[in-house]
Symmetry: C4
Subunit: 230 residues, 4 copies
């Protein structure tokens, strides 16, 4: 049942470790099969060393476990909130990768200081507001999803495939689990470079809209020229 | 004699190297068998390349060598002091991992700036006072244990499994040697992220008690929901 | 056809990954055969994992594809502009390596703060001006080459084998593709050390012209004494 | 002829690469056989990938090549100056490791901010004065040795086994080539931790003389208790 989906999600989770984005059992990635509404996600607190496709948990959009012996990630309700509100996305990734987490803890957007950033994120990487006391006390993980959705209002998710949850860390997404992980890796690199840029030149401003358009749109959208024909 | 204990302690020490927390022969990990009062600890100044379970030294709570051809770690009296005063702990780890040591040398607590920290440490990572002249001159290693114990007064050791010894570096602990090493690894990651957060935003404050409770208690204690049933 | 050239260019591109200068499909390296005017370059957006010599694309100095099934790197017009204006160079390399990119995004030259720098770059690593709006909108990649050429006016390219494109990242070159990659690696190390030097001592000045001459000229030029007779 | 010496020196040079202290062909290590006055040193500009014991060059204290097909390191006269003036040392190592080089380029001593430092260096890591114009123009490499010797006046070399050459980088030494390399590795770690300590707390002062004595002397000298009986 959904064997391909499980294998893709297992592989995407293992890639977090290979890319150096997580330590121990940190991080989680999921992918949704939109036709059936089935979501495959990493089990909670499992070691990457032992992680196999059969360990992947299947849940529905209400969070009910459909298949799997293990508990799903404790962040599952956050993932579900994103899938429900962003019908265009197919994969979600959450890490505590160090440089992105520094910006999240500083409660600062990542400025768009260069083309490395503009090649992949169509503007600043946004940061959510902090959750209110009652949002933490009840349905915390679901409310984490809600503040992300709130922050993405008026932004296109596939052009802005990353957000920093204030005091917490990054969530990224894409059309697949694999794409979500790639965005997490790029975000970490961009976060590191931005930190060093501001250390050198605290007054550095974001690149011009013209330069951002040029770089983002040569890689994305119907006029993209980057890469190979598919 | 205590072969399992020796193997666990050997493995835990080797993990320091695998996790990149130590260079050369730096660092040491021990575990206590509470029934017999026997402590297994790394020998002093031994290379990780050659380190085998049979090299592990067994000492009693007075520091007397019970078994082993080699001298125990010079930090043994510090470990003993912790085992004597914290009956709930089973393993102790000491490293000079760079980011945690930066905070120790700066004589600053590590602020609790995000949920990565709050998932594992129930508040700031405390720093000891500096040892007094006479505490350095006589029974230095034992006094290092004493200032740790003094600093942990009114804190629960299993909720605060790490301390920074001022001008020195981190000690961590847990129910086993393995747990102590995992806390050393997490501490290093948290120390790195905190340093970067303050570089970006020197005014960043600790997360709210509500958020800290939510994160720490979903992972620890009787109402924990994280991970798998055991 | 040009099999040796393709193999050298493939190897040079793979070295970017081995040296840790790029993630994903980032970066590109080319080499020119001056006799025929044929340039071998990495295809656009290809994964390093699958990259083979037969994937290398051959283009002429007008950018026309001569051989190869894949699209050439989107940065090809920048490479061409450098080959056309700098007849003494044989290889070009472009990365977004983090430390060099920090300086590029800060729009600051890398000061020549020590002999590590002076051994390889005969003075500060220059930074281009930002491209003007119309230069971005039309022939962007070619204009990127043009601002590099403009910035190198009055500099000798083989003594200054690196430039930072403002808001973008480094381009390096040399007599071969391999040499261009080596300069990219050295540039990244020099950029990292310079950042830390200024963090420690913001007032650090460039080394004296006498010390720079001594170091650069013992490694380069007709009186070089470094290395082995060839 | 001196086969053991060549093998030790080859191994020590390769360790620079394994420890991540050098890139490309950077760095050099030598060892002296005091009975014969023969020094074994790395050839100039050779790749670590191909480096074999038979490539090691033997020179006498005047720098005359006694054995070997290759040119000795261009830094040979610096090594010789140290061997001539410090009869108690047996090995010398030079790198441009990034963190130590940051301090050298900042022309700042590395303060002794913690016990990690005090375990290995008996006080601050000194920095030389800059070479004068005429010292650069004539016999530069030998004069580099002379300013090191000048700076070490009134310091014991085996208690202070490292120096920073201003605007250049670190030289370390010890009783053997292997010891010199170990000091280079420790120096790099200490330099990194000190940089972060001052980033956190610019006012951090050196540790007390009492604490320094305790740590250094438990590892070195006739009353040392660290390690195993030999």
């Amino acid at each position: 049942m959904f064997q391909d989906l499980k294998e893709r999600v297992c592989r995407a989770n293992l890639d977090l470790k290979i890319h150096g984005l997580v330590i121990l059992s940190w991080g989680n990635v999921s992918e949704i099969d939109r036709k059936s509404g089935v979501i495959a996600i990493k089990p909670s607190g499992i070691s990457y060393d032992d992680f196999r496709p059969d360990d992947v948990v299947l849940v529905d959009l209400d969070g009910k476990v459909i298949d799997g012996q293990l508990n799903p990630s404790s962040d599952t309700p956050t993932h579900l909130e994103l899938y429900k509100n962003f019908p265009e996305i197919g994969g979600v990734c959450h890490t505590h990768s160090p440089y992105a987490t520094m910006w999240a803890q500083a409660k600062m957007e990542i400025p768009c200081l260069g083309t490395t950033h503009g090649d992949h994120f169509f503007g600043r990487v946004p940061v959510t507001r902090e959750l209110r006391e009652e949002e933490i006390l009840n349905n915390y993980e679901r409310n984490t999803g809600k503040v992300i959705v709130e922050r993405l209002t008026n932004l296109k998710t596939l052009e802005n495939p990353a957000v920093l949850v204030a005091c917490h860390g990054p969530f990224t997404w894409g059309e697949t689990a694999k794409a979500a992980v790639i965005h997490a890796l790029i975000l970490e690199e961009v976060a590191k470079i931005a930190l060093g840029t501001w250390a050198l030149n605290p007054g550095s401003e974001d690149i011009s809209k013209t330069l951002l358009n040029k770089h983002f749109l040569r890689k994305h959208g119907k006029n993209a020229t980057y890469g190979q024909k598919k």
